[in-house]
Symmetry: C3
């Protein structure tokens, strides 16, 4: 109701871009999300994070104007949400210095190019959303590069190490801790380790879409349950690191990209459970490179569950049509 009458300009495009991290083109939602980031910056004392968020948001949105991207999509915030995440991630994992800030600017600009590139592949050809893939791709490259560049200093990740089996550290979770983890799972979508930020995000979500807010909380609860069953690391569970991707999966599969109903709710439940497994798998994979998974577990799962189309069947085990060689 709030987003409709507002004019389309750089400011509203940026605010809607912040909201689109949780799929909501809503300025009020975006404002509350920025408040959540600011609160976490205050709590941790790392103000570069909220500054990075603003810089990433503005640069990514401006770049989209510059490279002649679709005006309508820009105004819906579809070029801002990857940029804000680049701007939040770099100061979270790298020490703030001039080279880091240059990378925020370059990374946010390239994230908008990547949105258009991904759209050609995943939207035009496969009929699904690119979502946060540009953020994940660009940020992974910048974080991997940090190990090779002397002027970028790794501060909140790594070091690279081979995964070995975690034998006896299965998660134990006091029931009194559950509410905090429930909201931290949501805050970590923006890489924020604060439960209060999670509450602000749920409030922002509810302004735009109550079903999305409910799905976020249910997804968070399912993630906690699965994590305990599988036996994840206690510290990672408490920090919300096994919950942020499942939260996004639950909203995306259960509410945004498919039409909610009994079968879709079962489908979203299976997807949310699977996201916890993918999170563990990607933790193992990324550990050799010393970088975080970001929202890649969500992306892979969301793609798997939204790719199936009504008119598509598996290829039979028979001759391939139009094959080059047939003699």
């Amino acid at each position: 109701m709030l987003s409709k009458p507002l004019p389309d300009n750089l400011l509203t495009s940026c605010l809607r871009g912040a909201g689109q991290v949780f799929f909501q083109p809503n300025c009020a939602t975006g404002l509350l999300f920025l408040a959540a980031i600011a609160w976490a910056s205050h709590a941790s004392g790392n103000w570069s994070v909220v500054l990075g968020a603003v810089v990433g948001l503005v640069i990514a949105t401006s770049t989209a104007y510059l490279i002649d991207s679709s005006r309508e999509s820009i105004h819906q915030g579809l070029y801002g949400f990857n940029g804000i995440l680049v701007g939040v991630a770099l100061p979270t994992f790298l020490a703030a210095n001039p080279a880091m800030w240059a990378c925020v600017v370059v990374g946010a600009a390239v994230s908008s190019v990547a949105v258009d590139a991904m759209s050609t592949v995943v939207t035009r050809n496969w009929g699904i959303a690119g979502s946060t893939a540009p953020f994940v791709l660009v940020t992974w490259l910048l974080l991997l590069g940090a190990y090779a560049f002397a002027h970028l200093h790794v501060a909140g990740m790594g070091p690279p190490k081979l995964a070995t089996e975690i034998a006896a550290s299965a998660a134990t979770l006091d029931l009194r801790d559950v509410p905090a983890v429930l909201f931290r799972n949501i805050g970590e979508v923006f890489l924020l380790g604060s439960a209060i930020s999670g509450v602000l995000i749920v409030a922002g979500l509810a302004v735009a879409s109550v079903p999305a807010a409910v799905a976020a909380l249910l997804g968070s609860a399912v993630a906690i349950g699965c994590s305990v069953v599988l036996g994840v690391d206690t510290g990672a569970l408490r920090e919300g690191l096994y919950g942020f991707s499942p939260v996004l999966t639950a909203i995306a599969v259960g509410v945004v990209f498919l039409k909610t109903g009994p079968k879709v709710i079962f489908f979203a439940f299976l997807a949310t459970v699977f996201t916890v497994i993918v999170q563990g798998a990607m933790d193992t994979m990324m550990s050799a490179w010393g970088i975080p998974t970001l929202t890649a577990p969500y992306l892979l799962t969301m793609w798997l569950f939204t790719l199936p189309k009504q008119d598509v069947n598996p290829h039979p085990h028979a001759l391939t049509a139009g094959a080059r060689l047939r003699d």
Copy 2:
């Protein structure tokens, strides 16, 4: 002859699904393949493997009904063969316990979602078969996750280690050992280290398609020859680990997806040789993560050799049509 008159139901869909691991929608073939798995379970004493095969087959096929996949494809077994492989692989590489069995169920269910997802990408867009890619993707994720989850116990793979050059252990193979390796290469498609299981599989194949059985044996022989020329590890060669992907490549490229003839036989030979190289490459890659390659070397090679189409040419080094930026 046997599969035609049989009715289409969960049982026949499952049996044909077992047969489709070697591209044959044939119930008798599927029964002989299940016998091959049962024999190897008996020989190794690990009965979880054949139990996992049945659970994976039934769950994957049932899930396909549930998510409204194409009935005709279900009845052809195109949703069962990935599920049976998930069910065989997990008890092979993880210790059997409740969490492992939960993962067999979730993994087999997700494998059917992945069949539909892959079909959108590789079949609708690229015109080729997804084949065992859903099995490989889902199983890799579950096995990688096992290193992060305390309640899953790694039992037959890893540990993760960096690959270093194998200097002086080139394969030596006594001619008397060749027949056993010839059939073990075929048994390992189902992750079975038993030559007798390999004989049962060839028998099952011959029931449905003599050319496919011949291609399997020729592919296995070519793989042994290449392995000796390149100098693979003796133990791996004897266990059939350098042969199962080439066997699938030989059948897929030489008999199933292209029309057999002189040029296609040369093409399939080149593909089979290349699969041995890809097997070595992926062994190096996967070693850092402590997981097996599964049938990925076959998949990559089969895709490379079936993707070329009659009406497709390389992009010239000239302006890209419809590019966003042209000034």
Copy 3:
């Protein structure tokens, strides 16, 4: 002017194939490129490199005839440039012996199959060029395989090691060294560590296209500037290892695939800067496997910047059209 009146045959197809490494279907350019390779072979004493170049070029081009690839594309050299690079790379990173030469032949042949496979995916579906992706894919597999095969001996790469932060070795570059690095960046596109070879390549480029030659030199200069700002390893900078992919990006994005103009020049500048970051990122990634990045940093960046199309927009955060499950 030289390439037009020449007849189309294996010789001219091969020479144009050499020229196509820098996007030029020009026989004189190809001859000068072969001279550049021969000079570097002479300088390093490793004559296998130029021999490999010729073998790879001839085998790849002949294979394209054999598998019924488009005659017109063959005559434009579009099947030769991946083969010549396979033939240059293997003797650079592996010791020359019969197994290595067998791999040059198999790898060059498969590179032409891969050209047709990639064309189906990236050209028919995504509307862009496969470029050197077949070379990168095939060579990576052969080099990874070398760690698993006793008869292939690693000679100029690895060993595999985990990346750790490079703390205090930021590049220092004497201004007098800049000209040599400027040309070495260009020579390293052919994996040649010789500045004189770089000069021969620029001469060959200028014969066919002065804008391409200018773009190569500007791209090389931008790469040097970024490398110093980010603080790359001094040795790698001097050897030209941070410049060859940016050089290709500058030509491809600024001159070949987009129409040169003010916006495209800014776009190519951003792409060239980003390629330096991707080079650092991929150095970190590949280090765990002990293999070089080859031209993958260029490929990823070029694809990102040429994929955006005029008629393509990001998927809105709304229901997916044609989704399988909607209840």
